[in-house]
């Protein structure tokens, strides 16, 4: 059972992601997470301001259940399946992060420099998480999908729009990581 408690290698995780996608299609649905954000806006009453959100959100109830499941899955993994919270990142990555101002990179699952309560209570820290979320939400719906819909489903279906989107994901990610993060932090 020890292997379950260790971090899972890529050749276990990748196939299990495909298996998750298989079950969603097998049960007549699709694999796409970011559309849930639209459903949540519709539930919140956004249909009063924009007719796009004026749809019957109950038809996406299955996807909200999927999301509820992922929350439970995160809880189970954290509570019972992850005795060691550290992330064994590359030594070079640790050094690079140290130069940017991230201390003890990889010692915890997430950096305090972004996710700690103290950070988020500061205006800068709050704006980083809020702004990052806005970019993710805006970009995913503009592109018509996120990592699940484009990078996994779309590429599996050999779709050109998804290839272009994934190239975009990398253009944005590389600009952020190499140019903007050293400026922001």
């Amino acid at each position: 059972m020890d292997f379950i408690l260790e971090p899972w290698p890529w050749y276990v995780a990748g196939p299990l992601i495909t298996l998750s996608m298989f079950f969603l299609f097998y049960f007549g649905k699709k694999f796409g997470v970011s559309s849930n954000l639209e459903t949540m806006c519709a539930i919140g009453g956004a249909g009063r301001f924009n007719e796009f959100f004026d749809f019957d959100w109950k038809k996406n109830g299955w996807n909200l259940m999927f999301i509820a499941g992922t929350i439970i899955g995160g809880f189970i993994a954290f509570q019972w399946l992850t005795p060691d919270e550290s992330v064994a990142i590359n030594l070079k990555t640790m050094q690079d992060l140290s130069e940017v101002g991230f201390s003890n990179a990889g010692a915890q699952y997430l950096p305090d420099e972004i996710f700690s309560i103290d950070t988020v209570m500061s205006l800068k820290g709050f704006l980083i998480l809020l702004g990052g979320g806005i970019l993710v939400g805006f970009g995913s719906r503009y592109a018509g999908g996120c990592t699940s819909g484009h990078a996994i489903t779309g590429l599996s279906n050999l779709e050109l729009p998804s290839l272009i989107s994934v190239i975009g994901f990398f253009i944005g990610g590389l600009i952020m990581t190499w140019i903007l993060i050293p400026i922001i932090f």
């Binding site: 990748g14 993710v136 190239i167 944005g172």
Partner: protein, 137 residues
């Protein structure tokens, strides 16, 4: 409970992404720094198996639970929507190290500060649909 099976698939998916550290900000940073094969291996192996799986969907060898052919809805065509939307998404993914799925999995881990990012995600969606008519697609 209606849709219970999707809850179960979600639990499974949440555990997989947690255990493979795909929802760790450090792994995303490391990926964009090209300093680890881990994320490329995860996405690459998922896609290669996905290509094989979709062959079986498309040729009808694998049908859905009711015995119907599985159809994969094609993505919307267009260059600007994909390259610009993708780039905006990537900026956010690179900054907070979480795409929409991992945001909710992190919430389950008790990372309550991620609620700010989820709120941002909802604002971003509202914003897109408010100004989409002015954007190139």
């Amino acid at each position: 409970m209606k849709h219970f099976r999707f809850l179960v698939i979600g639990v499974f998916f949440g555990i997989v992404l947690s255990k493979a550290e795909i929802i760790s900000w450090y792994r995303i940073y490391e990926m964009f720094k090209f300093q680890s094969f881990h994320m490329y291996g995860v996405i690459g192996s998922a896609v290669i198996l996905g290509i094989i799986l979709f062959r079986f969907f498309n040729n009808g060898k694998i049908k859905d639970y009711l015995g119907n052919k599985i159809n994969i809805e094609p993505k919307k065509k267009g260059f600007y929507r994909n390259i610009l939307g993708g780039t905006i998404f990537g900026l956010g993914w690179g900054l907070i190290g979480a795409c929409p799925g991992p945001m909710f999995i992190l919430l389950g881990r008790g990372v309550f500060t991620i609620l700010v990012a989820i709120l941002g995600g909802l604002i971003g969606v509202l914003l897109y649909h408010a100004i989409k008519n002015k954007l190139p697609h």
